[in-house]
């Protein structure tokens, strides 16, 4: 069974700059409401630019068709099943978009006096409290604009904590080999040294391996739980003990929180600080690469270091407090991606406690269902039950010259977005599948059938797989050429 139907009518569409015609106008712009001024005379010599060469000149209809056609070349969650591991591509409820567009949110200027922002500050406090409850931690900042910025903030706070205790020699961050690339990059951005922790043959970190690395130089452990193999770090309590005994703190990368809602709280695992990815766990749109939102939750010991401003609720009034001497400082021009974190609050309020618990339960059931529907045809590196995602490999298909990349591309022909591929790095040829809670058994069965069909094709007609995809608007791309002689913008000379 394939869910991909027949090919629709898909248009070619040139670049905006190629469709542009001199003198063509888009949306009308009227006159100023005051006497016009001559810019050069008003500003003086040498400040005013000439008109911008080759800037688009298009009619509104040209623009509407342009972006409508481009959109049709994209595959989104609204298009079909998107089992992209560690990215939690769940349905983005439309009502959240309506919430974000309410004038009392969309038209609020961030420099408005706090006395006239009580509603939005109350909602921010509500979300902070909810995330504290879900994490089992004490305090939350909504300021980080994405998960990676949340990591930066969390590690920055850890460094500030050690410095304040006269423990500035703690410059090492221990990071398991299964971690996302942002973890080591965020540590480096804090000027800290990265030490890799090898996970065991069973895919999880063992306390002995950690103990051998934890010492008076250890600032923190950055742990992802469940990890990127979809496995729960069963020794997490012991790992936290090891780190705390060495004087370090435990950071949790919350990318995989979709497995833990109502199941377990990071605060109970010994975690001191974590970030959430609201665009993963809490359904805000991925938008083709952002915007994200990466709130950070901390134990009280780290509260003095929270980024400024913090929202205070005193005597029934809310205010933004900048007077926070130990703070790591500001990380966002304002108070984070409000339009995003309010969508997440809308999602949480729609589901409530039992709804959130059901999210994780169904996500876990779906991942195990897919894994156990495919383990007879694809190699499975770890034989444990998984949480919200699972990892397969191309080991068996490799014998026929078919790789993970080929399988991924062939899935497109069947109408599916591929899984995350070649990650985590510790598994050769990884295919990381995260079905999310949103998908029905019928959808999962369709995907499983496609994966099984591809496994058969790999044996009987591998060219079908290695030549894929044939249905999208373009075929496989020449990435080497793109990198060797980068063309990163359109210019007239080349037309």
């Amino acid at each position: 069974m394939s869910t991909a139907g027949r090919s629709g009518l898909v248009f070619h569409e040139p670049l905006l700059f190629e469709s542009s015609r001199p003198g063509r106008r888009g949306v009308p712009i009227g006159d100023p409401d005051v006497p016009p001024v001559d810019a050069a005379r008003e500003l003086g010599p040498g400040l005013v630019r000439d008109e911008i060469p080759d800037f688009p000149e298009l009619a509104e209809l040209d623009v509407v068709r342009h972006f409508t056609r481009l959109s049709q070349w994209n595959y989104g969650i609204d298009t079909g099943f998107f089992p992209l591991g560690s990215c939690t591509m769940k349905y983005n409820p439309k009502v959240n978009e309506v919430v974000a567009r309410l004038p009392g949110i969309a038209a609020v200027h961030p420099a408005t006096d706090a006395s006239r922002l009580q509603g939005v500050l109350a909602l921010a406090c509500e979300l902070e409290a909810v995330l504290a409850e879900i994490s089992g931690l004490d305090r939350v900042t909504l300021q980080p604009a994405a998960g990676a910025q949340g990591e930066f903030v969390g590690v920055r706070m850890v460094a500030a904590y050690h410095r304040a205790r006269g423990d500035a020699q703690r410059t090492r961050v221990l990071i398991p080999d299964t971690a996302h690339g942002t973890n080591p990059a965020s540590a480096a951005l804090n000027g800290l040294e990265v030490v890799e922790v090898k996970s065991g043959a069973d895919g999880i970190v063992h306390p002995e391996a950690l103990a051998a690395l934890a010492d008076e130089r250890t600032a923190a452990l950055m742990l992802t739980n469940p990890n990127t193999l979809g496995l729960f770090e069963s020794h997490v309590e012991k790992l936290s003990e090891v780190i705390h005994a060495a004087g370090g703190l435990v950071y949790l990368d919350g990318a995989n929180m979709n497995a833990l809602l109502g199941i377990a709280k990071p605060g109970h695992m010994g975690v001191d600080v974590m970030h959430f990815n609201l665009h993963k766990t809490f359904s805000t749109p991925h938008g083709g690469g952002g915007p994200g939102s990466g709130p950070v939750a901390v134990r009280n010991i780290l509260a003095p270091y929270l980024p400024t401003p913090v929202i205070r609720h005193e005597a029934g009034r809310y205010r933004l407090d900048d007077d926070f001497p130990h703070s790591i400082g500001r990380v966002h021009a304002w108070y984070g991606n409000a339009g995003i974190w309010l969508r997440a609050l809308a999602y949480i309020r729609t589901l409530g406690a039992s709804g959130l618990a059901e999210v994780s339960a169904r996500a876990i059931l779906n991942a195990n269902y897919v894994l156990d529907s495919l383990r007879d045809v694809y190699d499975v590196p770890h034989q444990k039950r998984v949480m919200h995602e699972c990892v397969l490999t191309d080991r068996r298909q490799h014998e026929h010259g078919v790789t993970t990349a080929d399988i991924a591309k062939r899935l497109m022909d069947y109408g599916y977005h591929p899984p995350t591929i070649y990650f985590p790095l510790v598994v050769a040829g990884a295919l990381m599948i995260e079905p999310t809670e949103c998908e029905s058994q019928e959808t999962l069965d369709g995907f499983v059938e496609a994966m099984r069909a591809i496994a058969r094709e790999a044996e009987t007609d591998p060219g079908l797989v290695t030549g894929a995809p044939e249905r999208p608007i373009v075929r496989r791309l020449d990435e080497v050429r793109a990198a060797r002689k980068p063309r990163l913008r359109w210019t007239r000379e080349r037309v």
Binding site: R25, A107, G181, A333
Partner: protein, 428 residues
């Protein structure tokens, strides 16, 4: 489904979670709301907020109330854009990829530079990333920052640069409200000047760039009001090596400060030191033009701790809105909008001066400026009671500003009647 897994109960699937960690009680959350109740809840809370449409607003200071054509929302709401992932799988992400390629081109055109990335979180982090980039290029650690940089951006810059050992040094403003770039230390990595600056004054970026280049530093031009780029000579034309800033003015709702879109452009020779995502042109196996994420060896998912930045996302959906907005407004419209902004501010300044109020800085301005208003606090309260957000009191941003100084912004959304009423109240 459970049968397929061989587990007898759901709990059996959780065998790897130690029993002691399993939550026994439900999360303590408010009861679930259906769509009607949800919208009631949010509407009730948000109705209390003062907005830029509930009454006249002269708020700027790094976030600007501009016209957004209806087609922006209509197109950016398409699920194929909104619910797509980062286009790692280029064959089914060509829509996003071509759009970002167009965004990069537009940023280059506006800034007068040769390469631009796919966007960053906001203007503040864009400045921080630009400073880190300059430090990598020059292998130096001293960053000279104009006192006219947005105070919040300056704070973010400090947060981002402290851990890796960069030192910030302030270039003061002169009496006209513009940066004195006469004393750049010989070991500077970068000179960062925002134009128009936080006080609204248009800077002499050319002079700042010369001062930077004289000591081998990079010149970084920052822009909080991106619409000014349509009218003013570009950072690239004036000699800046890096241009960065905030693109919120181009179609992004104010939304209490985010999500916005930071931009970063540079000279081509620095392309391998750029942070963040880049989209490049290539061909597919049948030879037709296509777009793909490129030069990814700079990025964290390949290079991990040796990456040029830890950033993983860009502001995809915001970059989309910016691209649509710029296409709809177009070459003629963006210039016209900028001229309207200029005219409104010029009118407001003239009327305020005529009413006897002092304009403390003589530097030329675009759509924002400082006015000194005796008894400002009381007047702001009176205006607020009438539903008028009269501007941003500079004292709130510290740095020894006088309690009388008000930062006033007028855009194309401001009417003459609103300006006249403001002048009347402030001069009263």
């Amino acid at each position: 489904m459970l049968a397929r897994t061989g587990a007898s109960t759901f709990e059996a699937l959780l065998e790897s979670v130690p029993a002691g960690l399993r939550s026994r009680a439900e999360l303590k959350l408010a009861p679930a709301l259906d769509e009607r109740a949800l919208l009631r809840h949010f509407s009730a809370f948000t109705a209390e907020n003062a907005t830029v449409i509930s009454g006249p607003s002269f708020l700027g200071a790094g976030a600007y109330h501009h016209f957004i054509p209806a087609a922006v929302d209509a197109l950016a709401s398409r699920g194929e854009f909104m619910t797509a992932y980062t286009p790692y799988q280029a064959e089914i992400g060509q829509g996003t990829l071509q759009m970002v390629f167009e965004f990069q081109t537009l940023v280059c055109q506006l800034t007068g530079l040769e390469v631009a990335n796919a966007s960053l979180y906001d203007g503040a982090s864009a400045v921080a990333e630009a400073a880190l980039m300059a430090a990598r290029v020059t292998r130096r650690t001293r960053i000279c920052v104009s006192a006219g940089l947005h105070p919040h951006w300056r704070e973010v810059l400090r947060t981002y640069t402290e851990g890796v050992g960069l030192a910030l040094e302030t270039l003061p403003l002169d009496a006209s409200g513009r940066t004195d770039s006469g004393r750049v230390p010989a070991d500077a990595a970068a000179v960062i000047v925002q134009s128009p600056n936080f006080l609204g004054c248009i800077e002499d970026l050319g002079r700042a760039a010369e001062a930077a280049h004289a000591v081998g530093a990079l010149a970084i031009g920052a822009t909080a009001e991106a619409l000014s780029l349509a009218l003013l000579r570009s950072p690239g034309e004036l000699g800046c090596d890096i241009a960065c800033g905030e693109a919120q003015s181009f179609g992004l709702p104010l939304s209490f400060g985010g999500p916005y879109a930071g931009f970063l452009a540079a000279r081509e020779k620095f392309v391998r030191q750029l942070p963040g995502r880049l989209i490049g042109e290539t061909v597919d196996s049948s030879g037709q033009r296509a777009f793909v994420m490129t030069l990814t060896t700079r990025e964290q998912h390949i290079r991990r701790e040796k990456a040029t930045s830890n950033i993983c996302t860009n502001q995809g959906l915001c970059a989309l809105r910016v691209t649509i907005w710029l296409a709809l407004v177009g070459k003629h419209g963006i210039r016209r909008l900028a001229e309207i902004n200029l005219a409104h501010a010029a009118y407001a300044r003239r009327e305020l001066a005529r009413a006897g109020l002092a304009l403390p800085f003589s530097g030329p301005v675009f759509n924002e400026f400082v006015v000194a208003v005796p008894g400002l606090v009381g007047k702001l309260e009176r205006l607020a009671a009438q539903g008028v957000q009269a501007g941003v009191p500079l004292a709130r941003y510290g740095a020894g500003r006088s309690a009388d100084e008000l930062l006033v912004c007028t855009t194309e959304m401001t009417t003459r009647a609103e300006i006249d009423a403001l002048v009347h109240e402030l001069a009263a």
